[in-house]
């Protein structure tokens, strides 16, 4: 075989490294890429993608059957749930304070604080803490969560266009990391990063969630936005050069393909295997497009994605 010279892309930009954890807690470093994912021959991407496992502050009532059977009784308590997530190989815990949703319990700062403390004392993994996704409630409970986790450098979210200032402020005050979430739009993504930076949030304390859909529900948008953001970062745009987080699990498990066993064509096959594949494929797609932290739910899907990452990084 003749010698073939492999063409190498020379990038000028580099993604910022962000360290989550510390203060007695395990540390995880994400970001730091200087080329596209898994191109080890081109340049070194020092930190392979990490898996965060989703934990809720209240027992999920509408979860799909395959998830409930995989987690069993652990989902009744966030501390127990988090411990089990460690067994299932989580690099980080993503605690969602869903009980604060006005239509899902409307709990307040005190409950948020208690849940955070429970998870903090149950496990030593670094934490991502998200509010219920209603700006006003997010501000309320994330402010309390931030206080409870002071000194342990957690990632807090979501900072969105409407409420980035409050969460940005508590991140500054308590030394945490801000998760900047925008709806599948590179300009809005960049704009939010600029606004957080203008507030004084340091570059090593921002993680972007540019959003994604599940397989069959807009994964191509998720893939393409990740890729574009990353290409811009590698091209030298400092305001897109932050690590990327995607919610592969949350997106997949809402969809029919991960939930329905009756009334679907036989060709769809067994629900459990199908739903696991659905989550694994979604997660594989986003990490191939530049995702640094993929938030997932099913232990078997997590097992598969971890093995994929190992193969792709040659470790």
């Amino acid at each position: 075989m003749p010698d073939v010279e492999i063409p190498l892309e020379k990038w000028t930009g580099k993604v910022k490294e962000v360290k989550i954890g510390g203060g007695g807690r395990k540390e995880v470093v994400v970001g730091g890429e200087s080329t596209l994912p898994f191109l080890a021959f081109e340049s070194s991407n020092p930190n392979p993608p990490k898996i965060a496992i989703e934990v809720h502050d209240k027992e999920p009532t509408t979860w799909a059957a395959p998830l409930l059977s995989a987690w069993g009784d652990a989902v009744k308590d966030p501390g127990t749930w988090a411990k089990k997530a460690v067994e299932f190989g989580a690099d980080l815990i993503c605690l969602k304070l869903l009980s604060a949703h006005p239509e899902g319990g409307n709990t307040g700062p005190a409950e948020a604080k208690a849940s955070v403390e429970k998870v903090l004392s149950a496990v030593d993994l670094p934490l991502i803490i998200l509010g219920p996704g209603v700006a006003e409630k997010d501000n309320e409970v994330i402010t309390a969560a931030s206080d409870a986790a002071k000194g342990q450098r957690v990632a807090l979210g979501n900072c969105e266009e409407k409420n980035y200032r409050t969460i940005g402020a508590v991140c500054l005050s308590d030394g945490h990391i801000a998760i900047a979430k925008t709806p599948l739009d590179i300009n809005l993504c960049k704009q939010l990063n600029i606004m957080l930076s203008d507030m004084g949030v340091p570059a090593d304390s921002i993680i972007m969630d540019p959003d994604t859909g599940a397989l069959g529900y807009g994964i191509e948008y998720g893939y393409s936005i990740n890729e574009r953001v990353r290409l811009a970062a590698l091209g030298g745009d400092a305001m897109t050069a932050f690590p990327i987080l995607n919610h592969a699990g949350g997106e997949v498990w809402r969809q029919k393909e991960a939930r329905a066993s009756d009334g679907v064509p036989d060709a769809w096959g067994d629900l459990e295997e199908r739903s696991i594949i659905w989550e694994a494929v979604t997660a594989t797609s986003v990490i191939n497009a530049g995702c640094d932290i993929v938030v997932m739910c099913h232990p078997k899907a997590i097992e598969r994605i971890k093995s994929t990452i190992e193969k792709l990084t040659g470790k």
Binding site: N139, T143, D147, N163, R165, T166, G168, A169, V170, L172, S173, L184, D185, I186, N187, L188, Q191, I194, M195, D198, M199, G200, V201, P202, R228, L231, A232, G235
Partner: protein
């Protein structure tokens, strides 16, 4: 700088430093250098920021009396000599140094008092708060950073009367401003006044009484310093960053009530270091130029000279003025009208049968006119109705109406008038049961019976405009006043004035040429679906969606400096005729993800603008006819290019640069800079029929301007021609100029 203020402040600083030094020396002898100092408030809440002002500005951690010795040495070195009688200097630097020395002296004095157990102060059974604890600072700090709380007002001294004191505090509270209290004037303190009137003070009511003397004002600056350290990501000792942080992010000010003595001047100089302006309700010299503070430094507003029918109104105006001078913006959470408000109601139609009353429209007279005024010319929130209102209008009747919106703002520009005025349409349409069409003197407003039944009156139009102008354009608008004239004689009189202004604006727009500016604007709003598309908008070409003119972009950039409209400096000319500049090329290259390397403003054939998905029209060359055709989005028919609008869009859209094809706005067709390289309007051989009708007047004017007054009749349209085979005979028969022009390719 006022020599008087400089002298007073320096004298005040000198005595403060002397007092602090004496107290420190005595305490060192009495208690020893190892005596600990820890700031706490009255409930025992403390701080991890040591003595925060000293820690923040100097980086020194004061934990004991002995730690204060080097601080005092530094303070002494800062105090400048008192200016001599006959020597005039700018003094600003000296005064600010004196201010800084005063702050160190004040904090040292409080530190010594803490060491001796004399703080927080107790006086006549009243417990002052002392320094704010860290937990409270964090909670308020978050609100200051996220904008819920603008900043704080430090009230120093005593108000004219108890009722004025209460009014000032209530007015500040209603604006979400934190209130800090300290000091006395003529033996009285605002703390006494509020206490006598039974006003609750404390963290819960956002009113914090620091102490009975001027020295306790240091707790306000300690609070500001900690906020900067905590939320500004600033290292202790980086005094410059701390001061800048407060100048730009903490909307605080000092309001001196009653006479101002040397010590207060010295403290004021300290506050000015932080960018906090100082206002006084007595006669003191003004320091109006801006610099250390964002706007005026020191403003005197003698209480009795303030306009107002009584003291309460004067107090209200005093606070209003302070808020304006500090540049605090107003947000209105809910539009205060009796009907629902929101984007869902924008498309509503009010039918004949439901019509309560209408203004303008066919045979009517209704116009809107937004004017820029000086800040002191208008009163924010003032809404007046002059003439009859709903109660005297017959059902279904038509009336004249004039809507005059006066706005003032430090960043307002005359050129933004039409930009804001055009928003009236969108703003008023948001109200349920109100429909608005047109603009300027062709405005047509219809109101639904249900809206009137719910209590909607003319003044509510003013309420809508006041709220929306503040909320949407707060970056450039500080004050909004609305006057609605329904008195027919008045409307007739004003409409002439307004028309003269419209004319002036038209002339200004006509004079606004590409050559007259050195900066164009970009629009990347569409990059979410056309990732590589960049609109470059010059004065003589609107964005291809037709919605953004050069002026709109300029205003949009003022409002949102990180938004989709960025200035594009033209830079060095590469080719004047083609309209190619280095600056524009660089910008487009960077913002098209490095896809578009060359970009010309004046050519269709050579590196034309890219097209996204929302252009109003597409033009394409017809080589056989040596010209171009233009099809509009509203035209569903076939065109001589063999493609419909939709098919053409599929070819040209998505951010592609396609020589010979380009998306553009309707009004661009009549621009003097319509594809000048290819010969301008004379190249148009085919035009959608609806464009011919819609732009009839402007097209006529443009054709006359180009010396081809009968050109419109020579252009084919969809009613007669839909194929190239039909087009050529048509053009030959009409003698279209394109046929004899230089080859387009």
């Amino acid at each position: 700088m006022s020599r008087f203020i400089a002298t007073s402040a320096i004298r005040g600083a000198t005595s403060a430093v002397e007092q602090a030094d004496t107290m420190l020396q005595d305490a060192l002898k009495e208690l020893g250098p190892d005596t600990p100092i820890r700031f706490t408030d009255t409930v025992g809440g403390g701080t991890v920021y040591y003595l925060p002002t000293i820690y923040g500005l100097l980086g020194s951690k004061v934990e004991t009396l002995g730690d204060l010795v080097p601080v005092m040495e530094h303070a002494k070195s800062l105090v400048p000599p008192v200016p001599r009688e006959n020597l005039w200097l700018p003094y600003l630097g000296e005064t600010l140094d004196a201010g800084a020395a005063t702050l160190y002296a004040f904090e040292t004095i409080e530190g010594v008092r803490f060491a001796k157990g004399e703080q927080p102060e107790k006086k006549n059974g009243f417990e002052f708060n002392g320094p704010i604890n860290d937990a409270q600072m964090r909670s308020w700090g978050i609100q200051m950073v996220d904008g819920r709380m603008p900043g704080f007002a430090a009230l120093v001294g005593a108000a004219k009367s108890n009722e004025v004191a209460v009014k000032i505090v209530r007015e500040l509270q209603s604006r979400g401003q934190l209130i800090f209290l300290c000091s006395t004037s003529n033996g009285r303190s605002i703390v006494d006044q509020l206490q006598e009137e039974g006003v609750d003070m404390g963290y819960d009511t956002f009113i914090v009484p620091f102490g009975s003397d001027t020295i306790s004002a240091i707790y306000a600056l300690g609070f500001a310093t900690r906020a900067a350290l905590s939320f500004g990501n600033i290292e202790p000792g980086d005094f410059r960053k701390i001061l800048l942080y407060n100048k730009f992010r903490c909307f605080a000010f000092v309001l001196a009530l009653g006479p101002v003595d040397d010590l207060k001047y010295a403290a004021a100089a300290g506050a000015i270091n932080y960018g906090f302006p100082v206002f006084a309700d007595t006669v003191i010299p003004n320091i109006l130029p801006t610099g250390v503070t964002r706007f005026e430094h020191v403003v005197s507003m003698p209480f009795d000279d303030i306009e107002g029918k009584d003291d309460l109104e004067k107090a209200e105006r005093l606070v209003q003025r302070c808020v304006e001078l500090r540049g605090i913006k107003i947000k209105i959470a809910k539009v205060p009208i009796p009907v629902a408000y929101g984007p869902a109601f924008e498309g509503e139609v009010v039918r004949r049968a439901d019509l309560a009353v209408e203004f303008g429209g066919k045979g009517g007279m209704c116009f809107e006119w937004l004017r820029m005024k000086d800040l002191d010319e208008i009163e924010d929130g003032k809404i007046e109705v002059i003439g009859p209102d709903m109660d005297s209008f017959e059902e279904g009747s038509k009336h004249p109406l004039a809507i005059l919106v006066d706005v003032a703002g430090r960043k307002m520009q005359k050129d933004f008038e039409p930009v804001l005025e055009r928003q009236i349409h969108h703003m008023t349409n948001g109200a349920e049961g109100i429909s608005h069409q047109g603009q300027r003197d062709i405005t047509w407003i219809r109101m639904h019976k249900n809206a009137i039944a719910k209590g909607f009156t003319l003044r509510h139009l003013g309420d809508i405009l006041h709220a929306c102008m503040h909320n949407d354009f707060g970056a450039i608008v500080d004050k909004v006043q609305v006057t609605l004239y329904s008195d027919p004689a008045k409307v007739e009189e004003l409409i002439e004035e307004a028309r003269a202004v419209y004319k002036e604006r038209n002339a200004r727009m006509a004079g606004l040429t590409d050559e007259a500016v050195d900066t164009y604007y970009s629009c990347t709003l569409c990059q979410s679906f056309a990732p590589n598309h960049v609109c470059v908008i010059n004065p003589e070409r609107v964005g291809l969606c037709g919605a953004y003119s050069w002026l709109d972009c300029r205003a949009s950039f003022e409002i949102n400096p990180n938004g989709p409209n960025q200035p594009v400096p033209k830079g060095k000319v590469i080719d004047e005729t083609l309209g190619e500049w280095e600056g524009v090329n660089n910008f487009v290259y960077e913002h098209s993800n490095k896809n578009i390397e060359r970009f010309t403003v004046y050519s269709l054939m050579d590196a034309p603008m890219t097209t996204c998905g929302c252009c109003e029209c597409v033009m394409a060359i017809i080589p056989e006819a040596n010209g171009v055709m233009i099809v509009s989005r509203d035209d569903y028919g076939m065109t001589p290019s063999g493609m419909t609008f939709t098919t053409l869009m599929a070819t040209v859209g998505g951010g592609l640069q396609t020589p010979g094809m380009m998306g553009h706005g309707k009004i661009y067709i009549t621009s003097k800079k319509f594809i000048p390289v290819e010969g301008g309007i004379k190249r148009i051989v085919w035009l959608s029929q609806n464009l011919k009708e819609e732009l009839a007047e402007e097209l006529k004017e443009a054709c006359e301007r180009e010396g081809v007054p009968d050109l419109i009749d020579k252009m084919a349209d969809g009613s007669t021609v839909t194929t190239v085979d039909e087009l050529l005979p048509f053009l030959e028969e009409k003698g279209h100029p394109a046929l004899t022009m230089d080859p387009i390719m």
